[in-house]
């Protein structure tokens, strides 16, 4: 099934990291992950809508960096272009067009936050437990191959051609929908 070209590309890039390099990358990840978590917490608690959007920007950047750490370069590039480039602009437009208050807005949250907090904590507990059960301290393969853009392209246009085409229908539906809903009568 897999074409020989695909396998050829795959075999050309085994990257064996030295322990030192690995340590640097790992430390880098822990630092950005901490930044990301703090930014995400700020995003859901801040009283300022524009600040929330900017905190989301930080989280999205951290996620893009995480993709790089994991060797998914094309996903990282797409994350930067689509999320940080397009979705963020869209969200900021949304913030502006709905006349968000400049400065703090006291009326952004429900008064009782315990339901949200409880659900979030219990979901994390269940997920954390099962993840720890399943993988514990399993390491990612040390010679983790960087998944090249060429491979992504090849598999999108061979194995995943149906989802790719389905996606175009989805975008069409969203396009028609957004235009119809947003236009004035």
């Amino acid at each position: 099934m897999m074409s020989s070209a695909l396998l050829a590309i795959q075999s050309t890039n085994p990257i064996a990291l030295t322990p030192n390099e690995l340590w640097v990358i790992n430390t880098f990840f822990y630092v950005i992950a901490a930044v990301g978590i703090v930014a995400a917490l700020k995003m859901v608690t801040t009283k300022n809508v524009v600040h929330a959007a900017l905190y989301l920007l930080v989280v999205l950047t951290v996620v893009a960096a995480t993709y790089i750490v994991l060797g998914a370069e094309f996903a990282a590039a797409t994350q930067v272009m689509v999320y940080i480039g397009a979705v963020m602009v869209l969200l900021l437009f949304g913030v502006m067009l709905t006349r968000a208050k400049i400065g703090d807005d006291g009326d952004l949250d429900y008064d009782s936050k315990w339901i949200g907090g409880l659900s979030a904590v219990s979901m994390f507990a269940v997920m954390g437990y099962s993840l720890w059960e399943a993988f514990g301290t399993d390491e990612l393969p040390a010679d983790m191959a960087v998944q090249r853009t060429g491979q992504v392209a090849n598999s999108i246009f061979s194995q995943y051609i149906v989802p790719f085409e389905a996606l175009s229908m989805l975008l069409l539906a969203a396009l028609i929908g957004a235009v119809v809903v947003a236009r004035r009568d």
Binding site: N26, F29, Y30, A33, I37, A40, M43, V44, V49, L60, T66, Y67, L70, G71, A72, A75, T78, Q79, V82, Y83, A86, V87, L91, F93, G94, L97, T98, D107, L108, D109, Y110, I115, G116, A120, V121, M123, F124, M127, G128, L131, W132, F135, G136, T137, D138, E139, L140, P141, M144, Q147, V152, Q159, L167, L170, A174, L175, A178, V181, A182, R184
Partner: protein, 99 residues
């Protein structure tokens, strides 16, 4: 690199996103929280793709990013529609529908 360091990072982002969806009243902020959840999913997919040495994780991420963009487009259109008619995008004020 532990696999779980990525998965736990994703799980934390997911939980924060769920918290955001459940506590925020402002429509745009709810949309942002949903984006947070989708990003958590994407980290999972990339990490599992790296674990299984399988390209489909990364390919799946691309599809999810595209779907997320489409969702934000439609979502904001609906939010703006509501705002135009009511001058507010407060979810708690959406109470026309009840028995």
């Amino acid at each position: 690199m532990f696999l779980n360091q990525f998965l736990f990072f994703a799980a934390i982002l997911f939980s924060i996103g769920v918290y955001g969806v459940l506590t925020r009243k402002n429509g745009v902020l709810v949309l942002m929280s949903i984006e947070l959840i989708l990003n958590a999913v994407n980290i999972n997919l990339v990490a599992f793709g790296a674990l299984h040495q399988d390209i489909s994780g990364q390919v799946f991420v691309l599809f999810v990013i595209a779907v997320a963009a489409a969702e934000v487009g439609v979502g904001l259109a609906i939010v703006l529609l509501i705002f135009r008619n009511r001058r507010s995008i407060n979810v708690a004020e959406a109470d026309l529908l009840k028995g």
